[in-house]
């Protein structure tokens, strides 16, 4: 392996600096230090252990506690976090990181390369049962270790306390994004070994805060990590209130008992109509797409003409409004918030007459009857399901709506030929189009059960384009392959994309620095509180 700083610079991902370069918060007012940020969430997590929690709400919280080698900047550019620099070998298989000296865990011990080896192996250990293991299986020797056939992962090395090396079996462009995921944050090996399964009660990381108190399903109290050497957070503490419902958190926020909480649709409307509260509402774009899928292995959706007719009969603009007027109507698979754009995509204009004619040509002059499934707890989907039922009735398609719990729906929708059509959503794991196209449309990945490709869509040309994109290390080339694949998928219409979700967040007027982030949605580290009289303001 040779030093490849030049090569990595070509990918625009190497930054040779010895300090953190995460951008400063963009608010024009000068941030103030101090105070306790009060955040409301509905339910607790099994644990904030990076091996366990894997969802959009816990990710920004984990970032307060744990840190790793690299992170995203204000966009999706990668910057060193607790590594001082890193490089990739010319064959794209070996990643070498030099750790920033003086980085310490919240218990005061310095982070060493062995801690990274340990943390990665822990993720890959089958006994950890982490969802994250699947992202690391590309490391040399990882599958063998995961299956218990090897004592250590052959591709993880710590040649000295400040150098960490990862060897991949094959080049994998997206591995750099995987490294920025919370799964890859470093844990102190001595603390984890000491507590074993009870580590969840003794979470220790190298982030700017640590957990002072965790009352399960009740609250968290995060306080400053005195050993943190990076860019410090603004607030002295973060208090996480767990429980209640969206109506309750709305009232609490207005009375100043909370600073930041997710809003319900009624509260969104109420805040929007109230001139004083309007500025207390913030919409956060997510890299998510909610979609209506048609199972291409089930009649009549095996007929592309039928799928195209359905695409002309559903109006995404109306559906997005039904789900919540803050959502963005979708006409593409990969969400623009990734960020992503694909100007040449075929667009299905809402045209019931055309849809009826297409159905006739496809051999269904009187329409047909089918089942539509959705997840009961996703209330927005319920409204969309009824909207689709109404719009398809206009072209003679009679929909019988079926609801199921999340778990029951997932089992059914991910099994072959079980669900003719349904509504679901997908949110990015990392900002790369392959996270949608490869995971959800690559026919080579179809399995009889647990299949993410719920349309069971399989087009060899698309599969080839996706595989070519996956294999390429050239950003421009990859983008081209994925754009071509997305065009073909849209032409075959296994999905009618419905909306890109925007999260309505309520924020107290004293709270600042809530700028959205394409991956982390928001970053608590950059939030700050106005300590003046404004802090006592009561909304409404």
């Amino acid at each position: 392996m040779t030093s490849t700083k030049g090569l990595a610079a070509k990918f625009a991902i190497i930054v040779l600096v010895n300090c953190r370069v995460l951008a400063s918060p963009p608010d024009s007012e000068k941030p103030q230090r101090g105070g306790t940020l009060k955040v409301g969430v509905m339910v607790d997590w099994r644990s904030l252990d990076p091996a366990r929690a894997f969802d959009a709400d816990s990710a920004p919280l984990q970032k307060l506690l744990f840190r790793g080698l690299i992170d995203f900047d204000d966009g999706i550019g990668l910057v060193p976090d607790q590594a001082s620099d890193w490089n990739i070998s010319p064959d794209g298989k070996v990643y070498t990181f030099h750790l920033r000296p003086g980085v310490r865990f919240s218990n005061g011990r310095e982070v060493e390369a062995e801690d990274y080896v340990f943390s990665f192996e822990r993720m890959l250990d089958a006994k950890t049962s982490s969802t994250g293991q699947t992202y690391l299986l590309g490391i040399l020797g990882a599958p063998e270790f995961n299956q218990g056939k090897a004592a250590h992962v052959a591709g993880l090395h710590a040649p000295d306390p400040h150098t960490f090396v990862v060897e991949l079996k094959e080049p994998q462009f997206t591995f750099r994004y995987v490294l920025a995921m919370n799964f890859c944050d470093v844990l102190p090996r001595d603390v984890v070994q000491k507590y074993g399964d009870d580590f969840q009660y003794h979470l220790t990381g190298s982030g700017p805060y640590y957990i002072k108190e965790w009352r399960r399903n009740i609250s968290y109290q995060f306080e400053r990590n005195p050993y943190y050497t990076g860019k410090d957070g603004y607030v002295d503490a973060v208090h996480l209130f767990i429980g209640g419902d969206t109506t309750l958190t709305g009232m609490m926020l207005q009375r100043g008992e909370l600073d930041w909480a997710r809003s319900s649709l009624p509260d969104y409307v109420r805040f929007k109509r109230d001139p004083k509260l309007r500025s207390w509402m913030q919409l956060v774009d997510t890299a998510n797409t909610d979609y209506f899928f048609m199972n291409t292995e089930v009649k009549p959706f095996d007929n592309v003409q039928v799928r195209r007719a359905i695409s002309h009969a559903i109006d995404p603009d109306r559906m997005a409004k039904l789900a919540g007027e803050y959502n963005l109507p979708s006409h593409e698979i990969v969400p623009p918030a990734m960020p992503w754009s694909n100007s040449g995509l075929p667009r299905y204009d809402y045209n019931p007459d055309k849809a009826r004619a297409m159905l006739r040509e496809a051999g269904y002059p009187n329409g047909f009857k089918t089942e539509l499934w959705y997840i009961l707890s996703r209330e927005d989907d319920g409204r969309v399901a009824q909207g689709i039922q109404e719009e398809l009735r206009a072209i003679g398609v009679r929909i019988e709506i079926h609801q199921a719990s999340y778990i029951a729906f997932q089992l059914k929708a991910e099994a072959r030929k079980e669900v003719p059509c349904g509504i679901w959503g997908w949110m990015e794991d990392y900002p790369d189009a392959s996270d949608f196209l490869d995971v959800l449309f690559n026919g080579e990945r179809i399995t009889d059960t647990d299949c993410n490709n719920t349309a069971f869509y399989n087009n060899p040309t698309v599969n080839r384009l996706i595989d070519q994109g996956n294999a390429s290390n050239d950003v421009g080339e990859r983008t081209k392959y994925y754009r071509d694949a997305e065009k073909l998928i849209m032409t075959d219409a296994p999905w009618v994309p419905i909306l890109h979700e925007r999260v309505p967040m309520m924020k107290h007027s004293r709270l600042h620095g809530t700028t959205e982030h394409p991956v982390w949605l928001w970053r608590y580290q950059y939030m700050w509180l106005d300590q003046s009289e404004k802090s006592k303001e009561v909304g409404g």
Binding site: S129, R216, G243, G244, L248, R255, I407, A408
Partner: protein
């Protein structure tokens, strides 16, 4: 012998409850492994979880394990948080107990005074007005009243905190909610009991001796009238300790009731089973204790048998 008989029936009741809750939670659709491992879990992770929680074992074998667990006082671990269920319940018990104590003090203060006065002035417009109010308070749905109190006195007027628990002041409004729901019932119960007692010879004798009316009512009559009230109160407190579902949930108080509601929303089967078993145990135990105490307090019951 009678005590042994009561104990056996109490255990049978608990065993029946355990079996019923096990059967009910076993037929809930959905894959528990998915709940534990999360929606994006791989088939391999799901297999590991099923193995760990014996989810692939036959139902009867799992029921057997459950009985053995219960005999050891082990309510299992939460599927969602992995916390021992017994620990989750015990950590929340003090808050639920504090809420109950606050509410009981509030409603008994109101009910005793109103019950005694309506007995004294029975048939008067005051008595009739109280009867109407008591009937209304009995008919109010807990979740509605809790939300109305919260909206009016906390959110709109700002007299109390809206929700959560950071000190005694957070118990006042939820306590008042429960007190409103129970005060009417207890006021009428005390009223009825007082009316019976006030016709007894010893109350007439006390009046004939020239004892003041306040002493007659609150010292002589009330003490006897409270015997059946205390019995019912014991049962109600036991029921409340098992979880004040709606009031705790609306005010987001981290008690046993909120734990039970959350577990239902997240399909956390061991917690659902644990909170139901805890609640059942409290009621059965209170029943047993009250039954035994009652025989001591009132020897006529013993003689009747």
């Amino acid at each position: 012998m009678r005590l042994l008989n009561r104990l056996v029936w109490s255990l049978v009741t608990l065993l029946g409850t355990a079996t019923l809750i096990f059967i009910l939670t076993s037929v809930i659709p959905g894959d528990v492994a998915r709940i534990v491992a999360g929606p994006k879990a791989t088939p391999e992770v799901l297999r590991q979880v099923r193995q760990r929680y014996h989810l692939d074992d036959p139902v009867l074998l799992r029921l057997g394990h459950y009985y053995v667990q219960l005999l050891h006082g082990d309510l299992g671990h939460s599927f969602v948080t992995d916390q021992p269920v017994a620990q989750a319940i015990l950590t929340r018990l003090p808050l639920t107990a504090a809420l109950c104590a606050t509410a009981v003090v509030m409603w008994m203060l109101v009910a005793v005074h109103v019950g005694v006065l309506t007995a004294k002035f029975r048939g008067s417009p005051f008595d009739r007005a109280i009867l109407v109010l008591a009937t209304i308070s009995l008919s109010l749905p807990a979740f509605w009243l809790a939300r109305m109190f919260q909206y009016s006195f906390a959110y709109k007027l700002g007299w109390f905190p809206v929700a959560a628990f950071h000190g005694f002041e957070h118990l006042l409004l939820p306590g008042a909610t429960l007190a409103t729901l129970y005060a009417g019932y207890y006021a009428r119960f005390i009223h009825t009991s007082m009316v019976e007692v006030m016709d007894t010879p010893y109350v007439r004798a006390a009046r004939a001796k020239g004892t003041s009316e306040t002493t007659v009512l609150f010292h002589h009559a009330l003490r006897n009238a409270m015997i059946p009230v205390v019995t019912i109160l014991g049962m109600d407190i036991a029921g409340l300790l098992g979880g004040v579902l709606f009031t705790e949930h609306v005010f987001a108080l981290p008690g046993i009731g909120t734990l039970a509601v959350q577990s239902v929303f997240t399909l956390d089967v061991p917690v659902i089973m644990g909170t139901v078993m805890f609640s059942a145990t409290m009621v059965v135990a209170a029943n047993l204790v009250v039954d035994l105490l009652y025989r001591r307090i009132d020897p006529r019951i013993k003689d009747a048998h």
